[in-house]
């Protein structure tokens, strides 16, 4: 048998590279051949540490563009029909790569940008698009710093991090009987810490008594000492601004140590089926922040409803739908509606229209603050509660699919 030599190897690699080039080339040619095409540029992390969520965001962009082009035959803006084109590149979760390649798109004349995922990428790239006066609508960066730089062309689908708890405090205020005290457990990461600071500040401002703030390392393995403190000084609401795994660990240890509170409220965790299956009957009554739920009665000019968007998505993509996917799609439909309102595809009128946007979308009612982040009430998270193994939306009233159980039964009384 002939050996696979160095020359064979080089030939194979060369052929692979050429094949990849052929795969990429038609996309470019198609773009050139299209008349009246609106190009959306930007980066997404499809490799590296943020790849998992980056894929969800990118799927949202892709599905919205596909639907508008294929199902609606394009979009009408100022009396003319346009096709939409997506020109995203993989930033590999690397801010330096993202900034360099965003610059290339600006040099090449891309006018409208979508965002990456992660504030450490979104902020440096937004600084470049801002300087070039090109709008960016993104659903991947919530850090306060993005919205406190005085940027005029950057819009975010989420409220800035420190305001993401405002809608939850509205929920506490609407509860009956109204709780009096809260305690907060948080871990040492940006999401958890900022949310906890927001929770404490907004709760105090709303007249709640903040009993304790428990700070823990980013990855927690044991919370027994914190729970001992919770038992001795029991709040009406125990807030955990924690990620999925940490939330599950806290819940399990609360069950094991029989630490009862009238309401356990977690930012992440119970929205996952695996979390609910693991806790079984003990999951009942636990509340969770829900950024998007396809059952919510959101209306959309193009898709009709959030539910129909989800159905369209599932018809074309096997990957489970996530709220980042809906957020990505909402960026596109918000852009298009701003262009239609502006009757123009020039950057300045579109920016102004984005700033004035107040439209219903598959993601909810989209409205931006003067600094560009999402309105804290309209785009802040809704609240869900686990009931019979399913998350029911219990706040706000407009999105309700169930009625809040409060105070929740003790662990030993759950069935």
């Amino acid at each position: 048998m002939r050996r696979f030599g160095r020359r064979d190897f080089v030939k194979t690699v060369g052929a692979t590279a050429a094949a990849a080039g052929l795969v990429a080339a038609p996309a470019v040619r198609r773009a050139d051949a299209q008349a009246k095409t609106i190009v959306f540029g930007g980066s997404v992390p499809l490799s590296g540490r943020a790849a998992e969520t980056g894929l969800n965001v990118n799927n949202g962009y892709l599905m919205a563009i596909k639907y508008l082009n294929e199902e609606m035959g394009g979009v009408e803006i100022g009396g003319e029909k346009y096709k939409l084109e997506l020109k995203m590149f993989d930033d590999a979760s690397d801010p330096a790569r993202a900034t360099t390649l965003i610059q290339r798109q600006i040099d090449e004349g891309v006018d409208f940008f979508l965002g990456s995922f992660g504030s450490n990428i979104v902020l440096p790239t937004a600084a470049i698009t801002e300087r070039a006066k090109r709008p960016m609508v993104q659903s991947g960066g919530g850090s306060d710093q993005i919205f406190t730089q005085g940027f005029k062309y950057v819009f975010g689908m989420f409220p800035r991090a420190s305001r993401q708890f405002i809608s939850s405090v509205e929920f506490f205020k609407a509860m009956s009987p109204r709780p009096k005290s809260i305690s907060v457990i948080f871990t040492n990461d940006a999401f958890s810490k900022t949310n906890a600071e927001g929770a404490a500040k907004d709760s105090k401002a709303a007249g709640f008594d903040v009993l304790e703030m428990y700070g823990l390392p980013e990855q927690i393995t044991d919370v027994s000492s914190v729970l001992a403190s919770v038992r001795s000084k029991t709040p009406d609401v125990l807030i955990c601004t924690t990620h999925d795994q940490n939330s599950l660990l806290i819940s399990r240890q609360m069950v094991a140590t029989n630490t009862n509170v009238p309401l356990l409220y977690q930012t992440l965790g119970p929205q996952l089926a695996t979390y609910r299956e693991t806790l079984g009957k003990f999951a009942t009554g636990i509340c969770v922040q829900i950024y998007w739920d396809e059952r919510a009665p959101y209306k959309d000019k193009f898709f009709g409803t959030a539910q129909k968007f989800a159905e369209y998505y599932r018809k074309h993509v096997q990957r489970p739908i996530a709220y980042h996917t809906a957020g990505g799609a909402a960026c596109i439909v918000t852009y298009v509606q701003a262009m239609q309102a502006a009757k123009s595809i020039k950057t300045e009128p579109v920016r102004d229209a984005l700033a004035a946007t107040d439209v219903d979308t598959l993601y909810g009612r989209v409205k931006f603050t003067p600094e560009g982040d999402g309105d804290a009430i309209l785009l802040g998270p809704a609240v869900g509660q686990v009931q019979k193994g399913v998350v029911q939306l219990v706040h706000p009233a407009a999105a309700k699919t169930g009625t809040l159980i409060y105070p929740t039964p003790k662990w030993s009384e759950k069935t």
């Binding site: 795969v23 790569r97 360099t100 600006i106 600084a127 850090s143 710093q145 990461d189």
Partner: protein, 324 residues
């Protein structure tokens, strides 16, 4: 010894001087994208050369040099955030000096214990150091590693940010190359090479191996930190994840390996090739660029196991042999 070294390498010095003259005029005729690619090239080349002082000359391969990129960036960032001076440029200069000094001091403190390890043990220990530094940055509130730091904007109003930082990178990389050259042609450089070849024999022959290794470690760490600080300023906003990146540590080794390990020009060529490939040639691709990059890397290593410099030397030798 230095004068001899300069004489022996005079053509390299002339080439470097011409190269830097070209680099200095480049922003006048390059597009903003090309200037940003230039920034990345200078940053990568600087990192590769800084790593080479320890890994290439002394043979102590560090898998955790990103520790100094992060340490320098966060010390500078925290200082500039908390102690703003009269002007943004003065603040940046002071922050850069302090961050670099912090890298020098910390590397000097850990050098003695960690350089007692050799080979893979040293490499893994450095990986551990970078993880520890990243955790500390996350958990010490003054650094704001989890929330991120906005680096003060020192760009003059009359200049584009990419052009300003391009020139800062030119200066930092020139300094790195200058220090590496000085090390290479000095007694220290010869000592380091003897350590790389056989450390025990070198010590037996009277080479102060401990002292030389510590010097190489501190110089390498300080220059890496300096480049990291410039990088942080160019980004404008950093979190722990932006600067403590294992791929930085590995890329430094890749640049040196591709170009030619133990040489100064090697990491420069290696980084030029990698930056051109990943940012320019494959930059537009969404999902196959990593595969192609990996395949080409393997191909280059197989075709030129001693790097581009080794490959060029082989070709030159063959050419000279053919002519004889």
């Amino acid at each position: 010894m230095l004068a001899e070294g300069i004489r022996a390498h005079r053509w390299w010095i002339v080439a470097a001087a011409v190269g830097f003259a070209v680099l200095l005029t480049a922003p006048a005729y390059l597009t903003p994208f090309q200037v940003r690619v230039g920034q990345l090239f200078l940053f990568s080349a600087g990192l590769g050369v800084a790593w080479t002082i320890l890994g290439g000359f002394a043979g102590y391969w560090s898998f955790g040099h990103t520790a100094f990129i992060g340490l320098g960036a966060f010390v500078a960032g925290a200082f500039e955030l908390h102690v703003p001076l009269g002007s943004p440029v003065a603040t940046m200069v002071a922050g850069t000096a302090l961050g670099s000094l912090a890298c020098a001091a910390v590397s000097a403190v850990i050098a003695y214990p960690i350089l007692r390890l050799r080979g893979i043990y040293f490499a893994i220990a450095m990986l551990g150091v970078s993880q520890v530094f990243a955790e500390l940055t996350n958990n010490v509130d003054a650094f704001k590693g989890t929330m991120g730091i906005n680096m003060p904007n020192a760009v003059p109003a009359s200049m584009e940010p990419q052009t300003f930082f391009y020139y800062v990178f030119v200066a930092a990389t020139a300094l790195t190359l200058g220090v590496a050259f000085w090390v290479k042609v000095s007694r220290l450089g010869y000592g380091l090479v003897s350590i790389r070849e056989d450390e025990d024999t070198a010590r037996m022959l009277g080479v102060p191996t401990e002292r030389y290794k510590i010097w190489a470690f501190v110089l390498s760490a300080t220059l890496t930190g300096l480049l990291g600080i410039v990088y942080a300023h160019a980004l404008g906003y950093i979190t722990t994840g932006s600067v403590y990146r294992t791929d930085f540590s590995l890329n430094m080794i890749v640049y040196a390996l591709l170009g030619g390990i133990g040489t100064i020009v090697g990491p420069v060529l290696g980084s030029a090739l990698m930056v051109w490939l990943t940012q320019v040639v494959l930059g537009r691709l969404l999902d196959v660029h990593m595969f192609i990059t990996g395949a080409l890397l393997v191909a280059i290593v197989l075709l030129a196991p001693h790097g581009l410099v080794g490959f060029a030397r082989k070709l030159l030798r063959r050419g000279a042999g053919g002519g004889a």
